[in-house]
Each structure stands twice: as C-alpha cells, then as structure tokens.
C-alpha cells in the first residue's frame, strides 16, 4: 500500500477499496466473494438461531412448574423437535465452518478465494432453500419426532410433517457436502508459496478434518432420511418391523452420520480456540503437530463410535463393549488438545480480552462436557442415565459450552477484520462472563436432574425435580441475555466502533497482514509464508525470581 493512503483518513481509504464497498442487493445476492458468502451465512444462521432459541425459551418456561402448565404435551414435542432440528442442521453445523471458515480459510491460506467460488454461493442458496422447507414444515404444524426421526414412529405413526422436514434436512445436507468439498480442495491446492502443511494454522487443520466428515458422513444421512421418508409416503417396509424391516438399521445409519456430525459441531470450535489461545498468550501452540493430528484422529475415530447411542437399543452386548472401548479412545485426542492449550498458556504473556475469555470458558466447559461423555460411554452407567437430562446436559456442554462459546470468541476475535471496527471491549468482557455464568446455571442442574432420573423430552415431571428446573430456567434467561447483547453491540459497532486497523491484536497470520476489512481480492500482492505458524517472539528463558 502506498504510504500516502495510511496518512490520509483511514476510513476513506478503506471505504474505497474493501470487499464491503459495493452495497447493492444484487452485488450481495450474486457475489462469489468468500467473505460476502460468509456474511450471508451469518445473517441466515442468526435467524435460525433466534427461532430455535425461542423454542428452547418456551420449553424452559413450561418446565418451571411440574405439571407443565404452559404448553400441552404435543406442542412440547414439536418444540423440542424444532429446537433440535434447527440448532443442529441450521445453526451449529454451518456456524463456524460456513461463517468463519468461509471468511477465513482463503485468507489464512493466502489465496484470493476458495477453489470453487460459484459453488460456494450455490451452497448458500441450497442452504436457504433447505432452511425454507424446514421453516415451512414448522409453520404448517411442525414435527413431533425429535431431531433423531426414529423409526417406526417417524415413518409410520407420527401425524406431523415428517417427510417435509426430512426433505429440508436432505437439501441442506448438499450445502454441507459442497462446502466441505470446496474447503478440502482449497486447502490442498490453493496454499500460498511456502505454506507447507505443517505451517498451516490449526484452524485450517480443524476445518480440513471437519470437511472430511462433511463429505463422507452427510450423504449417509441423506440416504437414511430418503429411506425413512419413502417408507412413510410409499407405505413399504424398510425399517418398519411390521413390514419386514429392521428399525435398528435406521438407528445404525442415522448415528453413522450423526455421531460424526457431533464432531462437525466441535472440531471447528477447537480450531478457533487454538487460534485464540495462541494469539492472546503470544506463543506458538504447544505441541503443534499433536494438536493438528488430534483433529484428524477425532475425525477418524468419530466414524467408529456411533453404536454408543444404541447401548439400550437391543444391540448385542459384544458390539456394545467394542463401541464403548472405541468411544473411550476419542478422549485421547480431545485430551491432547486440552492439555496442549493449557501448556500454551504456561509462561505466555496472557491478555484477557473478550475472545480469550470465551476461549478459557470453552476449555473448562468442554472438559466437563467431554468427561461426562466418558460416563455415557461406560456401558453400565449409560443404562442408568440413558435418555435422561444427564445426556442433555452432556451434549449441551459440548455444543453450547463448546461450539457456541468458540463461535462467539471467534466472532469477536475476527470482528475487526470482518467489519473493520472494534466492538466495545468492556461490554464484550461482561457479556462473555454473563454467558459463562448463565450457561452453567442452565445446564449444571440438568446433570443432577438426569442422575436423579428425570427423563428427557417430557413436558411434565414429578414435584421433587422442581427446584433444579427453576434454577435451569433462571440460568436460561441469563444465557439469553448473553446472546442478545452481542447482537446489539456488534451491529452498533458497525457504525460507531472505532476503526480497527490491520492488526488490532498484534496477532500472527496472513489475515492480519491485509487491511480491515480486506479488499475483494484479499491481498494487494500474493503473500509468501517464510516462517512457521504462530511465530511469536520466544519468551525470555530467565528463571522467575521471587
């Protein structure tokens, strides 16, 4: 950049050349710029998040009283289905990959765009189309099967719009596949000169592992839902035992996708946390290679553990033991990550900015979520807590405490790059703390509830569980505040935030070398990687004296 431009008002120079300059509807809807597509995804998933969170809010309100005075049992069933389907397929799965991944992957690789920019825009349209079908199915009456669509209830007995909802999920799946494909090819082929595999950012490694799952697992879900919907419409047996089918086959096929999908919903979050920890400790991530490979190990092992959802589904005991053992193995790469993040903090020069608060929250909550996963992978314990609130609490610690915290942390971290402006830091810190407290108050009581035996998916419960449910609902209202606040101040910061400059955090990486917001072509001239990732100055090795 010619130095003259830096001296003149920064705002003007950015306004003339950033990817956000052209603001017509047409320029957004026909864009092939990965950064704009990322933002299109962001706007879309916020809508789905709002709808799905509202469903959760009504459920939590209903559970304030043991009799469930607010909604009827049938409505409650539709609410938790709506919450699950929208949160899983229309918020969590696209959250970090499609928003932050889209925005950042080419920047981190030093590329102009993804390998297939038009396909990327098409992915968004497919996603919106699938989401539209799902929302339509909700508007005309909803679905009451739960997000798992278990047969034969879904294929034979349910009187709700199962086939339509399955069609929505089916369509959205193609968006996932195409995004994954695009990321894989981009990572392989579009790396800047000098950017070898072991100089890649850990976020790129985790996106790569996620993409492999997206490409290989999603089509199985597509086929499974097709079979289920056909059985329902065509009235011929595939899974219905009355017609010669095997309902267990549905569960096998469903979880063959949906367990790896759990890792689609956490691996990108782990990648974000690696970035945050490095940037705010001013240190290279400890054990870089191990953290990188642990992403691939999680992706691989994730394909081999689906049977732990079926310990009480008449699966053979032998299969149960194998799946239990394999599920324990997943704890190894997960623990490698947690230990290495913690080791990175050691003697780092840590600054506790908002993104770092989210990252530290992530580590704690993910650890609890992961450890309780081991309870569930233990055959005998699972029989006790299966289908109780213990399971709900466990996966919300991973999905919300893990992935959503990472998403929020990442959004704050890269917000200066995305918008060119800083968010209000104090408000950001307060929100991060509110979210953390609200989250724990919401979900920790659910561990106890589950252990005491309260089953999931009921709209009423025995009176002795009320106190925990009231705590949980109170927590949910605090948590809700933690999500509304960023929405307000991030929008505010677009107009009134102070200009961020290229690298407000002093972090390492290609994306911090270009302007904020970046130009359409990402870099003035193609960058070259000359050092390892996170090449922060090595801290002095002098012993700390008292």
């Amino acid at each position: 950049m010619p130095p003259v431009l830096q001296i003149i008002d920064l705002k003007d120079s950015q306004a003339t050349r950033s990817y956000l300059t052209k603001q017509t509807l047409r320029s957004w809807l026909l864009t092939t710029d990965h950064k704009r597509v990322g933002l299109l995804y962001l706007y879309t998933i916020i809508v789905f998040f709002a709808v799905a969170a509202s469903a959760a809010a009504v459920m939590r309100l209903n559970l304030l009283t043991p009799r469930g005075d607010l909604v009827q049992a049938e409505t409650y069933n539709k609410l938790f289905t709506m919450h699950g389907v929208l949160m899983v397929w229309f918020f969590l799965i696209p959250s970090i990959p499609s928003v932050l991944g889209n925005f950042l992957l080419p920047l981190m690789l030093g590329a102009r765009d993804l390998a297939f920019p038009k396909l990327n825009l098409l992915s968004w349209y497919i996603f919106v189309f699938g989401g539209g079908i799902a929302l339509y199915a909700l508007l005309i009456g909803g679905v009451d099967t739960g997000w798992t669509f278990y047969t034969p209830y879904s294929s034979t007995y349910s009187n709700s719009h199962v086939a339509l909802m399955a069609a929505g999920v089916f369509v959205a799946g193609f968006s996932s596949i195409l995004t994954g494909l695009n990321f894989i090819v981009t990572t392989h082929k579009l790396r800047a000169p000098g950017l070898t595999w072991f100089r890649l950012r850990l976020f790129v490694w985790s996106l790569y592992a996620t993409s492999v799952i997206l490409v290989l697992a999603t089509p199985v879900l597509a086929m499974t839902l097709t079979l289920m919907a056909l059985e329902r419409i065509w009235k011929v047996g595939v899974f219905d035992p009355a017609l010669g089918g095997d309902p267990l086959l549905f569960q096998h096929l469903f979880w063959f996708y949906s367990h790896p999908a759990v890792y689609i919903m956490i691996l990108p979050g782990m990648g974000v946390v690696s970035e945050l920890i490095a940037a705010f400790s001013r240190k290279r991530v400890f054990g870089y290679t191990f953290v990188a490979f642990s992403s691939l190990a999680i992706a691989l092992l994730g394909f081999l553990v689906w049977g732990h959802h079926m310990f009480v589904s008449s699966q053979s005991v032998f299969a149960g033991v194998i799946f239990s053992f394999l599920s324990f193995l997943v704890a190894i790469p997960s623990a490698i990550k947690v230990f290495n993040w913690t080791a990175t903090l050691y003697r780092g020069s840590i600054s506790l900015d908002t993104p770092m608060l989210y990252a530290i929250g992530f580590i704690g909550l993910f650890t609890i979520g992961g450890m309780t996963g081991l309870f569930l992978a233990t055959l005998a314990v699972d029989v006790h807590v299966h289908d109780t609130y213990f399971v709900i609490a466990h996966f919300h610690y991973i999905m919300v405490g893990g992935m959503v915290m990472a998403f929020m942390g990442g959004l704050h971290f890269w917000w200066p790059k995305i918008s060119g402006r800083m968010y209000p830091e104090l408000l950001g810190k307060m929100t991060a703390i509110v979210t953390f407290l609200g989250f724990n108050l919401t979900f920790f009581p659910q561990f106890i509830l589950g252990y005491l035996g309260m089953p999931r998916r009921y709209h009423a419960y025995p009176e002795q569980f009320q106190v925990y449910n009231v705590l949980s609902t109170a927590g949910a209202s605090i948590l809700g505040l933690g999500y509304v606040l960023p929405l307000c101040y991030l929008i505010w910061s677009c107009c009134y935030g102070k200009p961020a400059g290229n690298n407000p955090w002093g972090a390492k990486g290609f994306e911090w070398e270009t302007t904020s917001p970046p130009p359409s072509e990402n870099f003035e001239k193609p960058p070259v990687q000359t050092e390892e990732a996170y090449a922060y100055p090595v801290p002095s090795s002098e012993p700390i004296t008292e």
Partner: protein
C-alpha cells in the same frame, strides 16, 4: 482454430486450476459412494437375514435385459473415454461424435431399463398396493423389490444427470470453449460417467446374479 483456456481469478496458473477440478470431482465421488453406501448396507443386511426370499425374488427379474444393459453401459464408458482422449488430441468432430454416441447409449440403457420396469410392474413386482406375490414370504420379497427399485432408480437418476452434463459438454465443445487446452470440464464429466457405470457394475451382480439359476 486457436485453442484457448480460461484461467479463473482464484488460481495462479492452469496447472493449479486443473488439479483443483480433479481433486474436486474425486471428493464428490467419495461423497457419492457414501450416498449409495447406505443402500448397499441395507441390501447386504437384509440379504444376509432373508437369503431365501431374496434369491427367490431375484429370479423374477429379467436377466437377459440386464445383461444387455450392462453391455450397453460398458460400451458407453469406452466411447466416453475415447471422447475425452480425442478432445485432448484436438479432434473436435470426433469428440462431438463420440459424445453423441455416449448420450445415445445412455438413452438406450434408460429405454431398456424402462421396458424392464414395465415388465416388472405387469408381473406385480412393484411394491405397494400393486404388489402381487403368490409365493412364500411376501413381506421380505417385497423388501427386495423396494431396494431393487430404489437402487436402480437412484442409478438411473445419476445416469440422467450424467447425460445432461454430456449434452452441456457437447454444446461447449461445439462452441470451442472446450478444446485441447481447456479440457478439464470434459475430463470431470468423464470421471463422473465412469462412476455411474461403476455403480451399475456392483448393482448387476448384487441384484441379478446372486440369486439367479443359470
């Protein structure tokens, strides 16, 4: 005529662009394999459980037409491969001719499959209300036919998509947009076409030969 290639702005050179297309189609095919994988798994599980019924059911399919179709499809794979090779040699008209033959063979396959479906329908093999099976174990026999129609149906759908792609390639080759330097779209289509063929190579023995009395 001048053969020219288009370099899209996200790539730095043609080689990188070609490699990306190639990596993309292989990743897509991996995804497709998993898509069909669900069906193959269902078929394998039920065939193991209900071998008798599945063998019985298989014998009611038309083996002659299916064998003929296998030959048609394999020939189309040859013409497709030749089309891609001839394009790289810069032989425009032979490429056009070979692509046309490939499409026609695809259409012939669908026509024969259609005749077979009609015959199946008249024999009362189509699952649902029209299903008429006088032999033993109608439930599991019907299961065979559900999977038979789904698997061949999904295969036919992929074949139609492949034919659509080839027609686009025909147009682009005719216009000169695909040529000896800009060959990747045609190569990618060719790989996809071979994948569709390969699915049939698995379907044919699984559905027709395993239970056949020859």
């Amino acid at each position: 005529m001048n053969a020219r290639a288009i370099l899209y702005e996200q790539f730095s050179d043609l080689e990188q662009q070609r490699e990306s297309s190639l990596a993309g189609i292989w990743a897509f095919i991996a995804s497709e394999i998993m898509f069909f994988g669900g069906l193959f798994l269902a078929f394998t599980v039920y065939r193991l459980n209900y071998t008798q019924a599945f063998n019985e059911a298989s014998q009611h399919l038309n083996l002659v037409l299916a064998t003929l179709n296998t030959a048609v499809l394999l020939t189309s794979a040859l013409t497709m491969a030749l089309a891609a090779a001839s394009n790289k040699m810069g032989w425009k008209y032979s490429t056009l001719l070979l692509l046309m033959v490939t499409t026609l063979l695809g259409a012939l396959f669908l026509a024969i499959k259609g005749i077979e479906y009609i015959e199946d329908w008249h024999k009362g093999l189509f699952p649902g209300s029209a299903f008429a099976w006088t032999g033993s174990d109608p439930g599991h026999v019907q299961l065979f036919f559900v999977l038979y129609f789904l698997m061949t149906g999904f295969h036919a759908l992929h074949l139609m998509i492949g034919m659509g792609l080839i027609l686009v390639m025909l147009l682009l080759t005719w216009k000169g947009w695909i040529n000896s330097r800009h060959f990747m779209p045609l190569d990618v289509t060719s790989i996809y076409w071979h994948f569709v063929d390969l699915v049939w190579i698995f379907l044919f023995p699984l559905l027709y030969l395993l239970g056949a009395k020859i």
